[in-house]
Protein backbone atom coordinates (compact mmCIF):
# COMPACT_ATOMS: atom_id res chain seq x y z
CA UNK A 1 0.00 0.00 0.00
CA UNK A 2 1.49 3.35 -0.94
CA UNK A 3 1.48 6.43 1.26
CA UNK A 4 -1.51 8.00 -0.41
CA UNK A 5 -3.61 4.89 0.14
CA UNK A 6 -2.65 4.81 3.82
CA UNK A 7 -3.59 8.48 4.21
CA UNK A 8 -6.94 7.94 2.50
CA UNK A 9 -7.65 4.87 4.65
CA UNK A 10 -6.94 6.78 7.87
CA UNK A 11 -9.17 9.61 6.70
CA UNK A 12 -11.96 7.16 5.88
CA UNK A 13 -11.69 5.52 9.33
CA UNK A 14 -11.83 8.94 11.06
CA UNK A 15 -14.85 9.91 8.96
CA UNK A 16 -16.73 6.69 9.78
CA UNK A 17 -15.96 7.03 13.51
CA UNK A 18 -17.10 10.65 13.43
CA UNK A 19 -20.36 9.72 11.73
CA UNK A 20 -20.97 7.00 14.35
CA UNK A 21 -20.23 9.43 17.19
CA UNK A 22 -22.47 12.09 15.64
CA UNK A 23 -25.33 9.66 15.09
CA UNK A 24 -24.87 8.58 18.70
CA UNK A 25 -25.19 12.18 19.81
CA UNK A 26 -28.32 13.04 17.87
CA UNK A 27 -30.05 9.73 18.63
CA UNK A 28 -29.13 9.78 22.31
CA UNK A 29 -27.03 6.58 22.17
CA UNK A 30 -24.49 8.32 24.34
CA UNK A 31 -24.61 11.39 26.49
CA UNK A 32 -20.92 12.24 26.47
CA UNK A 33 -18.23 10.55 28.53
CA UNK A 34 -16.31 11.37 31.69
CA UNK A 35 -13.33 9.30 32.79
CA UNK A 36 -13.41 7.80 36.25
CA UNK A 37 -10.80 9.05 38.72
CA UNK A 38 -8.87 5.76 38.44
CA UNK A 39 -8.73 5.92 34.64
CA UNK A 40 -7.78 9.60 34.77
CA UNK A 41 -4.85 8.90 37.12
CA UNK A 42 -3.73 5.94 35.02
CA UNK A 43 -3.73 8.10 31.88
CA UNK A 44 -1.80 10.85 33.64
CA UNK A 45 0.82 8.34 34.80
CA UNK A 46 1.09 6.86 31.30
CA UNK A 47 1.47 10.32 29.80
CA UNK A 48 4.17 11.24 32.33
CA UNK A 49 5.96 7.93 31.71
CA UNK A 50 5.96 8.48 27.96
CA UNK A 51 7.46 11.96 28.41
CA UNK A 52 10.17 10.46 30.64
CA UNK A 53 10.78 7.86 27.92
CA UNK A 54 11.30 10.70 25.41
CA UNK A 55 13.73 12.30 27.86
CA UNK A 56 15.69 9.04 28.12
CA UNK A 57 15.75 8.74 24.33
CA UNK A 58 17.04 12.30 24.13
CA UNK A 59 19.79 11.59 26.65
CA UNK A 60 20.76 8.60 24.51
CA UNK A 61 20.99 10.92 21.51
CA UNK A 62 17.75 10.02 19.73
CA UNK A 63 15.79 13.19 19.05
CA UNK A 64 12.09 13.40 18.29
CA UNK A 65 10.44 15.27 15.42
CA UNK A 66 8.02 18.15 15.65
CA UNK A 67 4.97 16.01 14.84
CA UNK A 68 5.51 14.13 18.12
CA UNK A 69 5.38 17.49 19.93
CA UNK A 70 2.16 18.31 18.05
CA UNK A 71 0.70 14.97 19.12
CA UNK A 72 1.55 15.54 22.78
CA UNK A 73 0.00 19.01 22.76
CA UNK A 74 -3.17 17.55 21.25
CA UNK A 75 -3.26 14.81 23.91
CA UNK A 76 -2.48 17.20 26.78
CA UNK A 77 -5.43 19.35 25.80
CA UNK A 78 -7.95 16.68 24.81
CA UNK A 79 -7.65 14.12 27.61
CA UNK A 80 -8.23 16.55 30.52
CA UNK A 81 -11.50 17.64 28.92
CA UNK A 82 -12.79 14.14 29.70
CA UNK A 83 -11.49 14.20 33.28
CA UNK A 84 -13.41 15.28 36.34
CA UNK A 85 -10.58 16.55 38.53
CA UNK A 86 -11.20 19.79 40.39
CA UNK A 87 -8.51 22.37 40.96
CA UNK A 88 -8.39 25.32 43.34
CA UNK A 89 -8.50 28.49 41.27
CA UNK A 90 -6.51 31.36 42.75
CA UNK A 91 -8.03 34.82 42.35
CA UNK A 92 -5.47 37.56 41.70
CA UNK A 93 -5.74 41.07 43.15
CA UNK A 94 -6.28 42.51 39.67
CA UNK A 95 -9.36 40.33 39.17
CA UNK A 96 -10.63 41.13 42.66
CA UNK A 97 -10.36 44.82 41.75
CA UNK A 98 -12.78 44.39 38.83
CA UNK A 99 -15.28 42.63 41.07
CA UNK A 100 -14.85 45.24 43.81
CA UNK A 101 -15.64 47.97 41.26
CA UNK A 102 -18.93 46.25 40.43
CA UNK A 103 -19.74 45.80 44.11
CA UNK A 104 -19.26 49.52 44.63
CA UNK A 105 -21.71 50.61 41.94
CA UNK A 106 -25.36 51.33 42.80
CA UNK A 107 -28.20 49.54 40.97
CA UNK A 108 -29.13 51.27 37.73
CA UNK A 109 -25.55 52.33 36.98
CA UNK A 110 -24.79 52.72 33.28
CA UNK A 111 -21.87 50.60 32.14
CA UNK A 112 -20.22 50.86 28.74
CA UNK A 113 -18.84 47.55 27.50
CA UNK A 114 -16.72 47.51 24.38
CA UNK A 115 -16.26 44.16 22.63
CA UNK A 116 -13.00 44.58 20.78
CA UNK A 117 -12.29 41.04 19.64
CA UNK A 118 -13.28 38.46 17.07
CA UNK A 119 -14.14 34.74 17.21
CA UNK A 120 -10.42 33.87 17.14
CA UNK A 121 -10.06 35.14 20.71
CA UNK A 122 -13.48 34.02 21.88
CA UNK A 123 -12.30 30.98 23.90
CA UNK A 124 -10.44 33.40 26.20
CA UNK A 125 -12.72 36.42 26.19
CA UNK A 126 -16.22 35.00 25.78
CA UNK A 127 -16.28 33.39 29.27
CA UNK A 128 -15.22 36.74 30.79
CA UNK A 129 -17.89 38.53 28.76
CA UNK A 130 -20.58 36.10 29.92
CA UNK A 131 -19.58 36.31 33.60
CA UNK A 132 -19.34 40.11 33.46
CA UNK A 133 -22.72 40.51 31.76
CA UNK A 134 -24.30 37.99 34.13
CA UNK A 135 -22.99 39.83 37.18
CA UNK A 136 -24.27 43.14 35.78
CA UNK A 137 -27.73 41.67 35.18
CA UNK A 138 -27.75 40.32 38.74
CA UNK A 139 -26.96 43.78 40.09
CA UNK A 140 -29.44 45.54 37.81
CA UNK A 141 -26.84 47.57 35.94
CA UNK A 142 -27.68 48.98 32.53
CA UNK A 143 -25.34 47.80 29.79
CA UNK A 144 -24.42 49.77 26.69
CA UNK A 145 -22.47 47.52 24.35
CA UNK A 146 -20.46 48.35 21.27
CA UNK A 147 -17.43 47.19 19.31
CA UNK A 148 -14.34 48.63 17.70
CA UNK A 149 -13.90 45.27 15.97
CA UNK A 150 -16.62 44.36 13.44
CA UNK A 151 -17.25 40.94 14.96
CA UNK A 152 -17.37 42.29 18.52
CA UNK A 153 -21.07 43.21 18.62
CA UNK A 154 -22.02 39.75 17.33
CA UNK A 155 -19.93 38.19 20.09
CA UNK A 156 -21.78 40.50 22.50
CA UNK A 157 -25.17 39.23 21.34
CA UNK A 158 -23.97 35.63 21.71
CA UNK A 159 -22.68 36.32 25.23
CA UNK A 160 -26.01 37.87 26.26
CA UNK A 161 -27.98 34.93 24.83
CA UNK A 162 -25.75 32.35 26.53
CA UNK A 163 -25.72 33.95 29.96
CA UNK A 164 -29.46 34.65 29.91
CA UNK A 165 -30.08 30.98 29.11
CA UNK A 166 -27.72 29.88 31.87
CA UNK A 167 -29.31 32.20 34.42
CA UNK A 168 -32.83 31.31 33.30
CA UNK A 169 -33.63 34.89 32.33
CA UNK A 170 -36.13 35.76 29.61
CA UNK A 171 -36.60 38.78 27.38
CA UNK A 172 -39.23 39.98 29.86
CA UNK A 173 -36.73 39.90 32.75
CA UNK A 174 -34.02 41.72 30.85
CA UNK A 175 -35.53 44.09 28.32
CA UNK A 176 -33.60 45.10 25.24
CA UNK A 177 -33.41 48.85 24.93
CA UNK A 178 -34.04 49.40 28.63
CA UNK A 179 -31.64 47.07 30.44
CA UNK A 180 -29.13 46.61 27.66
CA UNK A 181 -28.45 47.79 24.17
CA UNK A 182 -25.99 46.84 21.44
CA UNK A 183 -24.88 49.88 19.47
CA UNK A 184 -22.91 47.80 16.97
CA UNK A 185 -19.61 48.49 15.29
CA UNK A 186 -18.06 51.58 13.82
CA UNK A 187 -14.81 52.04 11.87
CA UNK A 188 -12.20 54.55 12.90
CA UNK A 189 -10.44 52.75 15.77
CA UNK A 190 -9.23 55.35 18.26
CA UNK A 191 -11.12 58.09 16.42
CA UNK A 192 -14.40 56.42 17.35
CA UNK A 193 -13.54 56.80 21.05
CA UNK A 194 -12.38 60.36 20.44
CA UNK A 195 -15.69 61.23 18.76
CA UNK A 196 -17.71 59.51 21.48
CA UNK A 197 -16.08 61.93 23.91
CA UNK A 198 -18.15 64.61 22.21
CA UNK A 199 -21.22 62.65 21.15
CA UNK A 200 -22.13 58.96 21.20
CA UNK A 201 -24.90 59.51 18.70
CA UNK A 202 -22.63 60.93 16.02
CA UNK A 203 -20.77 57.61 15.89
CA UNK A 204 -23.71 55.31 16.57
CA UNK A 205 -26.72 56.80 14.83
CA UNK A 206 -28.56 53.47 15.14
CA UNK A 207 -28.15 50.31 17.19
CA UNK A 208 -27.03 46.99 15.70
CA UNK A 209 -30.55 46.31 14.40
CA UNK A 210 -30.96 49.70 12.73
CA UNK A 211 -33.11 51.24 15.48
CA UNK A 212 -32.48 55.01 15.74
CA UNK A 213 -30.45 56.15 18.76
CA UNK A 214 -33.13 58.57 19.91
CA UNK A 215 -35.74 55.76 19.97
CA UNK A 216 -33.77 53.68 22.47
CA UNK A 217 -34.85 54.59 26.05
CA UNK A 218 -31.55 53.48 27.64
CA UNK A 219 -29.31 55.72 25.58
CA UNK A 220 -31.43 58.61 24.35
CA UNK A 221 -30.25 60.76 27.26
CA UNK A 222 -26.65 59.64 27.07
CA UNK A 223 -24.61 62.28 25.31
CA UNK A 224 -21.03 61.28 26.01
CA UNK A 225 -18.70 59.64 28.54
CA UNK A 226 -19.82 61.99 31.30
CA UNK A 227 -23.11 60.03 31.45
CA UNK A 228 -21.33 56.70 31.91
CA UNK A 229 -20.64 55.37 35.43
CA UNK A 230 -18.17 52.64 34.60
CA UNK A 231 -16.67 50.94 31.58
CA UNK A 232 -15.27 47.54 30.75
CA UNK A 233 -13.24 46.65 27.71
CA UNK A 234 -12.81 43.16 26.30
CA UNK A 235 -9.79 43.39 24.09
CA UNK A 236 -7.69 41.15 21.87
CA UNK A 237 -5.33 43.79 20.48
CA UNK A 238 -5.64 46.91 18.37
CA UNK A 239 -7.91 48.82 18.73
CA UNK A 240 -8.61 47.94 22.33
CA UNK A 241 -7.54 48.58 25.89
CA UNK A 242 -4.56 50.81 25.04
CA UNK A 243 -6.78 53.14 23.00
CA UNK A 244 -9.52 53.17 25.64
CA UNK A 245 -6.94 54.13 28.27
CA UNK A 246 -5.38 56.85 26.14
CA UNK A 247 -8.62 58.54 25.11
CA UNK A 248 -11.43 57.30 27.32
CA UNK A 249 -9.52 57.37 30.61
CA UNK A 250 -6.76 59.95 30.22
CA UNK A 251 -8.75 62.40 28.13
CA UNK A 252 -12.34 62.01 29.21
CA UNK A 253 -11.98 60.65 32.75
CA UNK A 254 -13.73 57.33 32.20
CA UNK A 255 -13.30 54.69 34.89
CA UNK A 256 -12.12 51.56 33.10
CA UNK A 257 -11.21 47.98 33.80
CA UNK A 258 -10.55 45.35 31.18
CA UNK A 259 -10.54 41.73 30.17
CA UNK A 260 -7.67 40.89 27.86
CA UNK A 261 -6.28 37.94 25.97
CA UNK A 262 -3.20 36.56 27.69
CA UNK A 263 -1.05 37.81 24.80
CA UNK A 264 -2.12 41.38 25.45
CA UNK A 265 -2.34 41.31 29.24
CA UNK A 266 1.38 41.86 30.05
CA UNK A 267 1.45 44.97 27.87
CA UNK A 268 -1.25 46.71 29.91
CA UNK A 269 0.38 46.16 33.32
CA UNK A 270 2.05 49.59 33.28
CA UNK A 271 -1.40 51.18 32.90
CA UNK A 272 -2.67 49.06 35.75
CA UNK A 273 0.20 50.02 38.05
CA UNK A 274 -0.18 53.69 37.11
CA UNK A 275 -3.88 53.64 38.05
CA UNK A 276 -5.12 54.24 34.51
CA UNK A 277 -6.87 50.87 34.67
CA UNK A 278 -8.73 49.89 37.79
CA UNK A 279 -8.66 46.12 37.23
CA UNK A 280 -7.55 43.45 34.81
CA UNK A 281 -8.81 40.00 33.86
CA UNK A 282 -5.95 38.57 31.81
CA UNK A 283 -6.34 35.29 29.96
CA UNK A 284 -8.44 32.23 30.61
CA UNK A 285 -7.06 31.64 34.10
CA UNK A 286 -8.22 35.05 35.27
CA UNK A 287 -11.47 34.40 33.41
CA UNK A 288 -11.96 31.31 35.58
CA UNK A 289 -11.12 33.39 38.66
CA UNK A 290 -13.75 35.96 37.70
CA UNK A 291 -16.28 33.18 37.15
CA UNK A 292 -15.47 31.96 40.67
CA UNK A 293 -16.07 35.43 42.16
CA UNK A 294 -19.33 35.88 40.31
CA UNK A 295 -20.38 32.27 41.00
CA UNK A 296 -21.14 31.90 37.31
CA UNK A 297 -18.78 29.01 36.59
CA UNK A 298 -18.60 28.41 32.84
CA UNK A 299 -16.19 27.35 30.18
CA UNK A 300 -13.08 29.04 31.60
CA UNK A 301 -13.39 27.01 34.80
CA UNK A 302 -14.11 23.85 32.81
CA UNK A 303 -11.01 24.32 30.64
CA UNK A 304 -8.52 24.97 33.44
CA UNK A 305 -7.36 21.37 33.68
CA UNK A 306 -6.44 21.31 29.99
CA UNK A 307 -4.68 24.63 30.43
CA UNK A 308 -2.59 23.24 33.32
CA UNK A 309 -1.71 20.06 31.43
CA UNK A 310 -0.70 21.85 28.26
CA UNK A 311 1.59 24.17 30.22
CA UNK A 312 3.24 21.21 31.93
CA UNK A 313 3.80 19.47 28.59
CA UNK A 314 5.39 22.59 27.09
CA UNK A 315 7.66 22.97 30.12
CA UNK A 316 8.61 19.30 29.79
CA UNK A 317 9.49 19.71 26.12
CA UNK A 318 11.51 22.88 26.78
CA UNK A 319 13.42 20.89 29.39
CA UNK A 320 13.97 17.98 26.97
CA UNK A 321 15.10 20.41 24.26
CA UNK A 322 17.65 21.90 26.66
CA UNK A 323 18.87 18.45 27.67
CA UNK A 324 19.50 17.74 23.99
CA UNK A 325 21.27 21.09 23.66
CA UNK A 326 23.65 20.54 26.56
CA UNK A 327 24.17 16.86 25.83
CA UNK A 328 25.50 17.63 22.34
CA UNK A 329 27.87 20.34 23.56
CA UNK A 330 25.45 23.20 22.79
CA UNK A 331 25.60 22.52 19.05
CA UNK A 332 22.63 20.36 18.23
CA UNK A 333 19.96 21.45 15.85
CA UNK A 334 16.83 19.44 16.54
CA UNK A 335 14.80 17.73 13.82
CA UNK A 336 12.33 19.95 12.00
Amino acid sequence: MNRRMIEMSILAVITILSIIAYLGKINGWHNGYTFSTGLSITLIILLAASVIFILVLTIKGKLIGRRIVFLYIGIAITLPLFMDISQEIVVSNDVKAVYADLEGLPAGSKILVSFDYDPASAPELQPMAEAFIGECFKRDFKLIMMGLWPMGPQQANMAVDTIMNRMGLTDQDIIYGEDWVNLGFQTGDVFVIQRMGGSFESMFHTDINGRPYQDIPLVKNIKNFSNIDYSFNLSAGFPGTVEWVQVGVDRYGLKLSCGNTAVQAPTVYPYLKAGQLSGLIGGMNDGAAFEKLTQLEGKATKFMLSQSFSHLIIIAFIFIGNVAYFRTGRKSALKK
Binding site: S18, A21, G24, F70, I77, H205, V245, A274, G283, I314
Partner: protein, 207 residues
Protein backbone atom coordinates in the same frame (compact mmCIF):
# COMPACT_ATOMS: atom_id res chain seq x y z
CA UNK B 1 -29.86 21.63 15.28
CA UNK B 2 -28.20 22.55 12.03
CA UNK B 3 -26.57 19.27 10.94
CA UNK B 4 -25.07 20.58 7.73
CA UNK B 5 -23.72 23.71 9.45
CA UNK B 6 -21.98 21.85 12.22
CA UNK B 7 -20.43 19.34 9.79
CA UNK B 8 -19.27 22.19 7.58
CA UNK B 9 -17.70 23.92 10.60
CA UNK B 10 -15.97 20.67 11.59
CA UNK B 11 -14.81 20.07 7.99
CA UNK B 12 -13.26 23.54 7.84
CA UNK B 13 -11.70 23.23 11.31
CA UNK B 14 -10.06 19.92 10.45
CA UNK B 15 -9.06 21.32 7.07
CA UNK B 16 -6.98 23.99 8.78
CA UNK B 17 -5.50 21.44 11.20
CA UNK B 18 -4.53 19.17 8.30
CA UNK B 19 -1.71 21.65 7.71
CA UNK B 20 0.02 20.18 10.75
CA UNK B 21 0.57 17.02 8.73
CA UNK B 22 1.61 18.88 5.59
CA UNK B 23 0.40 21.51 3.13
CA UNK B 24 -2.50 20.02 1.16
CA UNK B 25 -5.58 20.74 -0.94
CA UNK B 26 -7.98 20.51 2.01
CA UNK B 27 -6.04 23.19 3.87
CA UNK B 28 -5.83 25.42 0.78
CA UNK B 29 -9.55 25.08 0.19
CA UNK B 30 -10.35 26.03 3.79
CA UNK B 31 -7.89 28.91 3.64
CA UNK B 32 -9.45 30.23 0.41
CA UNK B 33 -12.94 30.05 1.89
CA UNK B 34 -11.67 31.99 4.90
CA UNK B 35 -10.18 34.72 2.71
CA UNK B 36 -13.32 35.09 0.59
CA UNK B 37 -15.72 34.99 3.51
CA UNK B 38 -13.68 37.49 5.55
CA UNK B 39 -13.41 39.98 2.70
CA UNK B 40 -17.14 39.68 2.02
CA UNK B 41 -17.90 40.04 5.71
CA UNK B 42 -15.92 43.27 5.96
CA UNK B 43 -17.61 44.80 2.91
CA UNK B 44 -21.10 43.98 4.20
CA UNK B 45 -20.41 45.28 7.70
CA UNK B 46 -18.79 48.46 6.44
CA UNK B 47 -21.64 49.11 4.05
CA UNK B 48 -24.37 48.86 6.67
CA UNK B 49 -22.57 50.21 9.73
CA UNK B 50 -20.54 52.92 8.09
CA UNK B 51 -21.77 53.98 4.66
CA UNK B 52 -25.44 53.50 5.54
CA UNK B 53 -25.74 54.20 9.29
CA UNK B 54 -22.94 56.71 9.66
CA UNK B 55 -23.05 58.56 6.37
CA UNK B 56 -26.34 58.04 4.57
CA UNK B 57 -28.70 58.37 7.56
CA UNK B 58 -26.87 61.40 8.97
CA UNK B 59 -25.97 63.23 5.74
CA UNK B 60 -28.76 65.78 6.07
CA UNK B 61 -28.18 66.59 9.74
CA UNK B 62 -24.46 66.86 9.21
CA UNK B 63 -23.58 68.04 5.67
CA UNK B 64 -19.85 68.02 6.54
CA UNK B 65 -20.00 64.22 6.21
CA UNK B 66 -20.04 64.75 2.44
CA UNK B 67 -16.41 65.88 2.67
CA UNK B 68 -15.50 62.60 4.36
CA UNK B 69 -17.44 60.69 1.71
CA UNK B 70 -15.67 62.61 -1.06
CA UNK B 71 -12.27 61.85 0.47
CA UNK B 72 -13.29 58.21 0.79
CA UNK B 73 -14.27 58.14 -2.88
CA UNK B 74 -10.89 59.62 -3.82
CA UNK B 75 -9.30 56.72 -1.97
CA UNK B 76 -11.06 54.26 -4.29
CA UNK B 77 -9.55 56.03 -7.32
CA UNK B 78 -6.32 54.27 -6.50
CA UNK B 79 -7.70 51.38 -8.54
CA UNK B 80 -7.42 53.54 -11.70
CA UNK B 81 -3.67 53.84 -12.38
CA UNK B 82 -3.84 57.10 -14.41
CA UNK B 83 -5.46 59.12 -11.66
CA UNK B 84 -4.39 56.92 -8.75
CA UNK B 85 -2.15 59.69 -7.40
CA UNK B 86 -5.22 61.57 -6.16
CA UNK B 87 -5.65 58.89 -3.49
CA UNK B 88 -2.75 60.62 -1.74
CA UNK B 89 -5.15 63.28 -0.49
CA UNK B 90 -7.21 61.00 1.73
CA UNK B 91 -3.99 59.19 2.66
CA UNK B 92 -2.48 62.51 3.68
CA UNK B 93 -5.57 63.14 5.79
CA UNK B 94 -5.17 59.75 7.48
CA UNK B 95 -1.46 60.47 8.11
CA UNK B 96 -2.14 63.88 9.58
CA UNK B 97 -5.00 62.73 11.78
CA UNK B 98 -3.10 59.70 13.03
CA UNK B 99 0.06 61.69 13.70
CA UNK B 100 -1.87 64.42 15.51
CA UNK B 101 -4.10 62.25 17.68
CA UNK B 102 -1.68 59.40 18.33
CA UNK B 103 1.20 61.76 18.98
CA UNK B 104 -0.70 63.53 21.73
CA UNK B 105 -2.18 60.33 23.16
CA UNK B 106 1.19 58.62 23.44
CA UNK B 107 2.83 61.73 24.81
CA UNK B 108 0.22 62.07 27.54
CA UNK B 109 -0.54 58.45 28.46
CA UNK B 110 2.63 56.57 27.70
CA UNK B 111 5.28 59.16 28.50
CA UNK B 112 3.88 61.66 31.01
CA UNK B 113 1.67 59.39 33.09
CA UNK B 114 4.12 56.48 33.02
CA UNK B 115 7.03 58.69 34.02
CA UNK B 116 4.97 60.18 36.83
CA UNK B 117 4.01 56.70 37.99
CA UNK B 118 7.68 55.70 38.09
CA UNK B 119 8.74 58.69 40.18
CA UNK B 120 7.15 57.59 43.43
CA UNK B 121 8.00 57.25 47.11
CA UNK B 122 9.93 53.99 47.39
CA UNK B 123 8.47 53.29 50.82
CA UNK B 124 4.95 54.11 49.68
CA UNK B 125 2.88 57.14 50.72
CA UNK B 126 3.80 58.41 54.23
CA UNK B 127 6.47 55.68 54.61
CA UNK B 128 3.75 53.08 55.03
CA UNK B 129 5.49 50.33 53.07
CA UNK B 130 7.58 47.41 54.28
CA UNK B 131 11.15 46.47 53.37
CA UNK B 132 9.63 44.14 50.78
CA UNK B 133 7.77 47.07 49.21
CA UNK B 134 10.97 49.09 49.18
CA UNK B 135 12.86 46.35 47.32
CA UNK B 136 9.99 45.76 44.90
CA UNK B 137 9.69 49.45 44.13
CA UNK B 138 13.47 49.64 43.62
CA UNK B 139 13.15 46.84 41.05
CA UNK B 140 10.34 48.76 39.32
CA UNK B 141 12.10 52.13 39.28
CA UNK B 142 15.60 50.75 38.62
CA UNK B 143 14.34 48.35 35.96
CA UNK B 144 12.49 51.09 34.09
CA UNK B 145 15.46 53.47 34.30
CA UNK B 146 17.99 50.86 33.18
CA UNK B 147 15.66 49.63 30.45
CA UNK B 148 15.49 53.14 29.05
CA UNK B 149 19.28 53.40 29.21
CA UNK B 150 19.52 50.20 27.17
CA UNK B 151 17.45 51.86 24.44
CA UNK B 152 19.75 54.90 24.38
CA UNK B 153 22.14 54.20 21.53
CA UNK B 154 23.74 57.64 21.17
CA UNK B 155 26.34 56.76 23.80
CA UNK B 156 28.51 53.66 23.80
CA UNK B 157 27.41 51.09 26.37
CA UNK B 158 30.62 51.13 28.45
CA UNK B 159 31.51 51.65 32.12
CA UNK B 160 28.70 52.56 34.52
CA UNK B 161 26.44 53.35 31.58
CA UNK B 162 27.14 49.92 30.13
CA UNK B 163 26.42 48.24 33.47
CA UNK B 164 23.10 50.05 33.71
CA UNK B 165 22.28 48.98 30.16
CA UNK B 166 23.12 45.40 31.13
CA UNK B 167 20.64 45.57 34.03
CA UNK B 168 18.20 47.04 31.53
CA UNK B 169 18.54 44.09 29.17
CA UNK B 170 18.06 41.69 32.10
CA UNK B 171 14.82 43.44 32.99
CA UNK B 172 13.67 43.36 29.39
CA UNK B 173 14.53 39.65 29.16
CA UNK B 174 12.32 38.96 32.19
CA UNK B 175 9.58 40.94 30.46
CA UNK B 176 9.96 38.92 27.28
CA UNK B 177 9.95 35.70 29.28
CA UNK B 178 6.71 36.69 30.99
CA UNK B 179 5.22 37.67 27.65
CA UNK B 180 6.25 34.32 26.23
CA UNK B 181 4.57 32.53 29.14
CA UNK B 182 1.40 34.50 28.59
CA UNK B 183 1.55 33.85 24.83
CA UNK B 184 1.71 30.12 25.48
CA UNK B 185 -1.26 30.49 27.82
CA UNK B 186 -3.22 32.36 25.16
CA UNK B 187 -2.48 29.96 22.33
CA UNK B 188 -3.35 26.95 24.45
CA UNK B 189 -6.66 28.57 25.45
CA UNK B 190 -7.60 29.05 21.81
CA UNK B 191 -6.72 25.46 20.98
CA UNK B 192 -8.77 24.22 23.93
CA UNK B 193 -11.72 26.16 22.48
CA UNK B 194 -11.43 24.39 19.13
CA UNK B 195 -10.88 20.92 20.61
CA UNK B 196 -13.94 21.55 22.78
CA UNK B 197 -15.92 22.41 19.66
CA UNK B 198 -14.87 19.18 17.93
CA UNK B 199 -15.50 16.85 20.87
CA UNK B 200 -18.48 18.58 22.49
CA UNK B 201 -20.45 20.57 19.90
CA UNK B 202 -19.72 18.33 16.92
CA UNK B 203 -19.32 14.77 18.18
CA UNK B 204 -21.01 15.16 21.56
CA UNK B 205 -18.38 13.04 23.27
CA UNK B 206 -17.86 15.50 26.12
CA UNK B 207 -20.34 15.95 28.92
Amino acid sequence: MDHFGIWLAAFLTLGIYSFLYRDNAWYKLSESIFIGISAGYWVVILFWDNFYAKFWLQRQDDPMLWVGAALGFLMLLRLIPKIGWIARWPLAFIDGATAGLWGMNFLASNIMVQTKATIMPLMGPAFSGSIGDLLSNLVLVGGTFCGLIYFFFSKEHKGAFGNAARVGIWTIMITFGAMFGYTVMSRMSLLIGRIDFLFRDWLGLLK
